[in-house]
């Protein structure tokens, strides 16, 4: 089922502080699938997220050309508060997201539900569930500002997941985390996907994208240059022309192919790499 459809989107911020524009962007997003957006900084990834979550055109002015349909309804016609409960947005920088008006992690997570006027008992139940789920019980009574980067990132996830949105837009969730913290965040993303959420993820860690995504968009200079299934896109050497990078396994495959054109199936993850190299060795 198609949830989001972009038709010829063009956009330019009214005051350009080095932010990116969008040019002729077209895509379709199906329910329950995970889409990763890759590309160098300044390619337009975050700007595209801002359109999907309605910040463009509801907060940022500037001319939005083309159409963005969410469940068939144009983004301009959506009411922002309805959109907010439909689409959850997790910020690149958890410092930006944490409200600053709440003294404890528990209250921070409850804040969104309070604003929606949910019953207190229900709020407590839902917040406790999420705290359990993300394994952050030991943080519940702490001040959000006392937390480490990784802990703040998990609280930022909790505050959005508790609202139970159908669509999650997640902008570089692991950029400040160590390998363990990164793994934890991807476990959460995997869980959300299993729950049938539709996820749009901006991320630079390509090995993890290869492992978790269904589809990949490659952006450069405000345009989607390549899009398709993860196996197709991340095995294309052309992605490197856009400075978007490729997983180590694909880079290995490309190097193998360069030295022996018979090695022609570029792997994108470890198990594919093992398989293709063994096949090649036995030839």
């Amino acid at each position: 089922m198609e949830l989001i459809r972009a038709k010829n989107i063009n956009y330019k911020y009214p005051i350009n502080d080095g932010q990116s524009t969008l040019k002729n962007v077209n895509f379709s997003i199906q329910k329950g699938e995970l889409y990763s957006i890759i590309g160098k900084n300044g390619a337009g990834k975050t700007t595209l997220c801002n359109v999907i979550r309605g910040f463009i055109p509801h907060f940022h002015r500037g001319e939005l050309g083309g159409e963005l349909l969410i469940e068939g309804k144009d983004i301009r016609e959506w009411d922002m508060s309805d959109l907010a409960s439909k689409i959850g947005f997790i910020f690149q920088n958890p410092f930006t997201q944490i409200s600053g008006v709440k003294d404890t992690v528990f209250d921070e997570i409850a804040y969104g539900l309070e604003n929606l006027g949910v019953e207190i008992d229900d709020i407590k139940k839902r917040v406790e569930q999420i705290i359990d789920l993300l394994g952050i019980g030991d943080l519940a009574d702490k001040n959000p500002y006392e937390l480490s980067g990784g802990q703040k990132q998990r609280v930022a996830f909790a505050a959005v997941i508790v609202m139970d949105p159908d669509i999650l837009v997640i902008d570089e969730p692991t950029s400040q985390l160590d390998p363990k913290g990164t793994k934890d965040i991807f476990e959460i993303i995997k869980f959300l996907k299993e729950k049938g959420k539709t996820i749009i993820l901006v991320e630079h860690k390509l090995e993890l994208i290869a492992e978790h995504s269904d589809y990949v968009f490659v952006m450069d200079d405000g345009e989607i240059m390549l899009d398709g299934k993860v196996d197709e896109v991340l095995s294309m050497p052309k992605v490197l022309d856009y400075d978007a990078g490729l997983p180590q396994y694909a880079l290995l495959g490309i190097e193998m192919n360069r030295k022996d054109p018979d090695f022609n199936q570029i792997p994108i993850n470890k198990s594919q790499a093992e398989l293709e190299i063994n096949k090649w060795l036995q030839r």
Binding site: G18, S175, K180, G245, P247, L252, K270, E274, L281
Partner: protein
């Protein structure tokens, strides 16, 4: 005697939290090394002690013979520059030029000297097009390069980069590698904290691994990344290519794509299995 001498150093924060426990290391002038380990392992506290921002609560750190306890942070930071993990902890001017020029001004350099230094480091780190911009209008990764420029402009002997690779795209990574090469050529000591093991493989030989407030290993990257005990204890990640080589039972302690390819091609030629 080594240029940087860390002798039995511990650090306990005023709230009695121990961040670093009894570490020792020597680092030579012109050497480059990576410090890796999980968040909370003590990496940032360790490097902050090297530039005098923090003073050891036990033990001593000497920089070129100067014990950091006997000098102010300002004095030590003339020798050792530290680029913060979060650029927003460091930036306070409303345009990039003034931000970079601030350090040289405080040490009384002439306007001409300041401007020539600012332009040259800005070009070096690729931000010469943004000198009139407000740093806060720039993306995180570019702000990080602003803070790197602020340290380079002081022409210090030791440059410490705290997670320069965080939030960087492919282009930024290449820029940081180039910068490390450049500093090496100028005989600067470069100490880099990072979580990106491919970046370590591509740029460093010596690696210090920290875990649970201590240095648990200090040796060549190949010995580090093929030492299961170190990897397990520190929770660092083996490089992806090493992991693959390991799963495929290849010997040779492979670290990089080139090594991997060379290994399988030479084996195929000999007709042997991997």
């Amino acid at each position: 005697m080594s240029f940087i001498q860390i002798k039995d150093v511990s650090f306990v924060y005023p709230n009695e939290f121990t961040a670093v426990h009894k570490i020792s290391a020597s680092i030579e002038k012109g050497e480059k090394l990576a410090i890796v380990g999980q968040n909370g392992a003590g990496k940032t506290t360790t490097v902050k002690m090297m530039n005098g921002l923090l003073k050891p609560t036990k033990g001593d750190i000497e920089i070129d013979g100067l014990n950091t306890k006997d000098y102010t942070t300002a004095q030590i930071s003339r020798h050792v520059g530290y680029v913060f993990q979060n650029p927003d902890d460091q930036i306070f001017h409303s345009d990039v030029y003034s931000e970079i020029a601030y350090g040289p001004k405080t040490i009384g350099l002439s306007d001409d000297e300041i401007s020539s230094r600012v332009y040259s480091v800005a070009e070096l780190v690729g931000i010469d097009g943004f000198l009139d911009e407000n740093p806060y209008n720039l993306p995180f990764s570019t702000r990080k390069f602003v803070t790197i420029a602020c340290v380079l402009v002081m022409d210090v002997d030791v440059v410490i980069l705290d997670e320069p690779t965080a939030g960087q795209d492919h282009v930024g990574m290449v820029q940081i590698s180039k910068l490390i090469d450049y500093l090496q050529k100028k005989n600067k000591t470069v100490i880099t904290i990072t979580h990106d093991m491919e970046f370590v493989v591509n740029n460093f030989e010596r690696v210090i691994v920290m875990a649970n407030k201590q240095i648990i290993a200090d040796k060549n990257k190949r010995e580090i990344f093929w030492d299961n005990n170190v990897i397990e204890e520190s929770n660092i990640k083996q490089p992806y290519i090493s992991e693959l080589a390991n799963d495929m039972n290849m010997g040779n302690r492979i670290l990089s794509i080139d090594e991997f390819v060379e290994h399988v091609f030479s084996n195929k030629k000999e007709g042997a299995t991997v």
